[in-house]
Symmetry: D3
Subunit: 253 residues, 6 copies
């Protein structure tokens, strides 16, 4: 896990930024997108607003003598291993606490600074609605607000302001309950093994490995159907879905 190399990136390639409420979200929900874009020489950064130490670490808490610090360390280590497998350029842990996650003013400023440095071609975060997990909604709100502030000429005048990167909402658990509707499917067949390896770094959540494998296969089916179906659809085996917040701007339909 090397240092942030933003200046380089600006010269050599594109960047992308993932804003994840908890340490493991980025793996399940957009690990394929990360690995794929890393292979395309995007420098992909990940921000984990919390470790998910209280709410998403049940297996660890069932061990004797567990403490909050030990959970955080374990979660961080897992996330760093997964990030390395996926080819993440940099991962940052804001350690804001979870259940509930609270993004205060200072953390917002830090997030804005990070976005401006990264100048991402696109951003990734959670769904707008999630009645199972309000941390997810707060992360999305923070992503939207930070993007806005990063665009403001009067915020730290003199810095390079942000353009208008797309914000993709990655797939939540139980999509229908989250009012999430994908408008783009990304073929991750070529990096599926890498995503699976990253998933397996999440030792504390082994019960979800099969779930996300099934999901990726089924999204592959959706990719095939929407890319041509039985009349020449791409033979995608695994895919990920995303919902765009903003309209696209194109030169050709």
């Amino acid at each position: 896990m090397h240092e942030y190399a933003c200046a380089e990136n600006e010269m050599s390639g594109k960047t992308a930024l993932v804003i994840s409420a908890h340490a493991a979200d980025f793996v399940w929900r957009c690990g394929g997108a990360i690995a794929l874009h890393a292979e395309k020489n995007y420098a992909v950064s990940v921000v984990c607003l919390s470790y998910g130490e209280r709410g998403e670490s049940a297996k660890l808490w069932k061990q004797d003598g567990m403490t909050l610090d030990r959970v955080k360390s374990a979660r961080r280590a897992e996330a760093e291993r997964a990030a390395a497998v996926l080819g993440v350029a940099e991962i940052e842990f804001f350690d804001l606490g979870d259940y509930p996650l609270v993004v205060d003013r200072k953390s917002m400023e830090r997030l804005v600074e990070l976005i401006r440095k990264a100048q991402p071609a696109f951003m990734l975060s959670h769904s707008r609605w999630d009645p199972y997990n309000t941390d997810h909604m707060r992360a999305t709100s923070a992503a939207i607000e930070a993007r806005m502030i990063a665009q403001a000429w009067g915020h730290n005048p003199g810095e390079k302001i942000l353009g208008a990167p797309q914000l993709y909402l990655f797939e939540p658990h139980q999509t229908e309950q989250m009012e999430w509707k994908p408008d783009v499917f990304l073929d991750i067949s070529s990096v599926w093994e890498r995503k699976l390896a990253a998933i397996r770094c999440m030792e504390g959540q082994e019960h979800l490995w099969a779930y996300y494998s099934n999901l990726a296969e089924n999204r592959g089916n959706h990719f095939r159907r929407n890319s041509g179906g039985q009349a020449g659809g791409r033979n995608s085996t695994h895919a990920e879905g995303f919902q765009s917040v903003y309209p696209r701007t194109v030169d050709e339909l």
Copy 2:
């Protein structure tokens, strides 16, 4: 206005298909998309399900001695002139009547045949909801159903079936009342003069020329904002918006 050149198109380039409820709809709502793709060597076909002879020809009906046939002829001539200006490869008039438009089984079969011949890379039609104009909704329903039938192996077995082209819903009048939300803006700056020339072929609806010029300029503003805003957004002067019915399938976000 030459004959359909589908075999050629299959060899030389892409095609697109517009399904328009009335003769003029394709001009106001996607004239820029047509002209732009024609310049990119797409063979763009247009189907006018009706001439809009009863409901969208007020100016003609105010003339003395007007008849339905004369209105149809005038509307057809206008539409052909506009199509020629835009570079439409072929325009067909189904003459199904308007206010109300009724797409019967036989016309549906004809539409399917046309779609299969064209094998369009994408299709264009109206919004899903329109309480001002039910013909528009019926055209959209027909487009969706014809697309489905064209994909069926058992419909005229032996013919080349359709893949999974996107269906873009072009911009209706009074977008908010139509529950229409664009998710893609197309830069039509380079062909704006051409679209404007086509608009001016619509002599019977002069009151709408300024309206659609204003609209294209304002959509240009939206294009700029969403393509980078004040931090390097494309300097689009005119744009058109579209709503996708189906998710996209991509290799890169």
Copy 3:
């Protein structure tokens, strides 16, 4: 129940038109609006597309020896009595059958003719969605389509075309299931007794009398809250709610 007096109305006052799927709908759902506007010298016309003879006449069918014709006659008589009580200027029965109601092309033409004659200041019909009663949705669709055709210069050229009257969707049973949301409450306190008398003409549906009395009282509460609440809200005792299909045009907010 006198003859249609449209020419008079055009000179002397405004008109309104109710399009009701079954014979009794207009009483429960907008009887107050009818009575109130009748008092304001609107000539209010009612079209009953069917008698509700099969689906809304359970009490009659439980009688021995009942026939379809006898049910229709009974329903018609009730509706005429209620219309008279409410001050309806004219009531027409299209007798198109119910469960299901089918509005064919010829009936559509008749409806258009009637709308053009009436030149209503506003129209009233059912909610857009009703999974309990598809006749209601079909009546609304017919109302929207007939309004559109009546606006067409080329439909029976020479007739006076329709302007842009509001279409109000009156209150369905179980509003929330019908995706109906009122945006206007009408104070019917002054005509409540008249509406109640009309309701009591519906002898076959006595089980609904208390229901619609309760409803009118509670809508009166909503009227008071939205007209000023505890700081001077109108002391309405009974009200009816409506959902507008089209935006209003005003000179003052």
Copy 4:
């Protein structure tokens, strides 16, 4: 596949009714519900409005010398085998044609008759919206309308009218695109092997076997999470999701 045993059912147990647009839909989408309720002594009837002969039989059409009749026979045979495996009490084929499916007045009457005979405790059909397959929407519309007619005292007076059975919308392909949101998950773990066996009767659609196995496993995960999660959720391995059209009526929350 024995004869309809409605009189018996009325004495001995409950019934359920599936209205399926094409021959195979009932297997993928509610095969678990069918098998489970059959085990609970429900007499489950299935209506296949069409065979899906044109639009859902690609594999058959790729064979030499295929005809419409041969496709229909093959599809019927598959569906009957699957129905037998699932314990369906009766399966009927309306043979109305597919792509597009058209439910005419006579077929509607037949459907109503069938519903009245069955007096189902609940009904199952497709999602309200499906831009990939308009047959599905038409089946749902037919189900809603037939249910309404079956409730009408004046439809074939003297017959036993229908009560108010729930209409569950079973899971469509690509749920999010269909605006479908499940509000109930049914644990089908105990009958999963039976559903899988039925799925395997669908020889023409082998590419979907894994898809629906994955789906059932993942819905099992959703069942566990919503039945108690890590604090005692039922250990469901496979589940099916459904969306209710009508509200429930209960004695206890």
Copy 5:
């Protein structure tokens, strides 16, 4: 009003928890559900986040010499009397202030503690949207967030975590404006007299007694229609409606 008897409840029966923004909300909106479940030996707890002392006590404030403390006392007394009538096992007043209600971190922890103690079979709170009363939305947000925290293994490790109780949103005033749609109706006929007695404890809001009586009767009508209608619907005279936030998990449809 006796002390919390959670340990007992865990042995002897089920519990339910109402989270009410103001002191009287639980009476109007779910008094029937409380009384009914109390009769079924549920221990029903109520949390009043505020007394509604500023915003929902107009009648008191119109008295001379009224003070905030006196209003709070009066509201508390009324609520306690109503709770006793309904058979509430325990009522707690968080006294967080109203107009606006603010649920700070400490109160959230208290709410979580209370939920964990109660281990409710289901929870009840307000609608998601309410433009008339933001306190209601804040109470709902608090309920959702507290439920989530109560499920976290790492929140006060060692305590018994919460399962996945349903959160029912009880009926708001002016349902349609609140985007609230009931999916379950509860028959409260047997406890209606008890609910009415509780309503009458709300002396400061006498103008609402008739309103909520009307409403309960009309919801009874909805219950009858959805439980079988004219073909054997339950003869419910009074009912309450609820909207479920989460899907149900069942063994039988």
Copy 6:
């Protein structure tokens, strides 16, 4: 810009209140409504919660040596000039900061006080959703909450409480992305020149002058269509659209 003249207003006429997130919003979005109502002797007050100094002042920040105070002064001066042109009775600057705007408890109290003084016949603010600009959403939330508090008898007892003024949401940029749907169009033809003059006071945002001129013309088209269309619609040349939050209460439809 004279002092607040509330006592006078109460005697002589009606008042209206605009709650604007940034200094210029009120000009673009409801300048016509302000000018029109000022001409009708409404005393229109404007609250600018911030100056838009950081996020909406790009042109100023591009000048050398710019400081936050200088930007604020320039924005304030522009806004005051525009307010004078429009006939605003009073404009207040809360100076709460922008990007992000934070409305704290104290500012909320100030806003409530101001609303109570004004006793507005109607209020104006932003759309409910805006993923481009969270300040806009916060302003709307503040408007809704302040309106509620102003209605509370127990908030500063003895003051005159607020009635139930409509809250109109004025037109956001890119309406469709904001989930904003106008239900009322106001004819501003007679004051268009005045609005244009106010727009031209916004020297820092010259790129938007043409945009909002185009928009007003096109909304004029919508006004004409909805006020009668080709059958006598008002000849409005410019209009503004608004979305009502609350239902209207009327005596005549």
